[in-house]
Symmetry: C2
Subunit: 162 residues, 2 copies
């Protein structure tokens, strides 16, 4: 089983290395903007689920509003994200990426996407759904709802936009 004491050290370690390198690509780009990983995460989800509220964003990221405040303010000040008053509830702030924000989100996602495609090919294609299923199964069951919401589920053609 490739384990010691029933512990799967191999995958534990691989997961660490894989995630470290996975995040290193965008980190380089972010540095040019004076942004960090927190900005990336916020921009990513605003871009993915345009119109989501501050509360929804906090729930997805699992951070406090004080932590979000600085990062979100910077993204707004630099014209990557805009806030619009909620139509139904005027207390809410709906978050949308600007064209500039979408461009940056895309630039950040590109190298990550390239790495994923290369890894899928290297490990022998057709495994896309298997990898997706594995990663999804790694997420806490209670939180899986967050994933498929605006993300056009996993399988089919995507329609998360428009």
């Amino acid at each position: 089983m490739s384990v010691e004491d029933g512990i799967d050290f191999a995958i534990i370690e691989l997961f660490f290395f894989a995630y470290r390198d996975f995040t290193s690509d965008p980190d380089q780009i972010l540095a040019d903007y004076g942004f960090g990983r927190a900005h990336h995460r916020v921009l990513h989800f605003v871009n993915r689920r345009p119109g989501l509220t501050v509360a929804e964003l906090l729930d997805v990221l699992k951070i406090t509003k004080q932590s979000l405040a600085r990062v979100l303010k910077q993204l707004i000040d630099t014209d990557h994200v805009v806030q619009l008053q909620g139509p139904r509830d005027r207390r809410q702030r709906e978050l949308y990426p600007t064209a500039k924000g979408r461009a940056l989100a895309l630039a950040l996602a590109r190298p990550q996407s390239r790495r994923i495609h290369a890894a899928l090919e290297d490990s022998g294609a057709t495994e896309r759904t298997l990898v997706e299923r594995f990663l999804e199964a790694m997420v806490n069951p209670e939180l899986r709802a967050q994933i498929d919401v605006g993300s056009a589920k996993m399988s089919g053609k995507s329609h998360g936009e428009h």
Copy 2:
């Protein structure tokens, strides 16, 4: 292909959620010791590759020695790790886990291992090697050497301990 603009947002997001929950299990235990994720990583690798030197550890973790210093000192002060003068080169400090350190490393790895096994089962067994290959392929090629070194490669029976 489940992508927009050729970008694989689905797996990018899944990877984020999966890693977040993957690290949340040990985080809870670490809090009881006043330790953080940095302590976990150091303890993990000292436990995995007993006898590695400070320089090797820095290379694996890709952090600076100033960052390591505080964390390592705490692990030594709390009797989780010991330093022994290198046999060949007396400038080097070989790092070893104590019994206490091994116990903690195991306690931290257990919930992660459980999560991995559950995820492998949920996603339809026999995929262990596929997941391993995918994760390994996600790591920068230059850095893959670090992985198989003391980790008894992926496949076969492990022999890193004894």
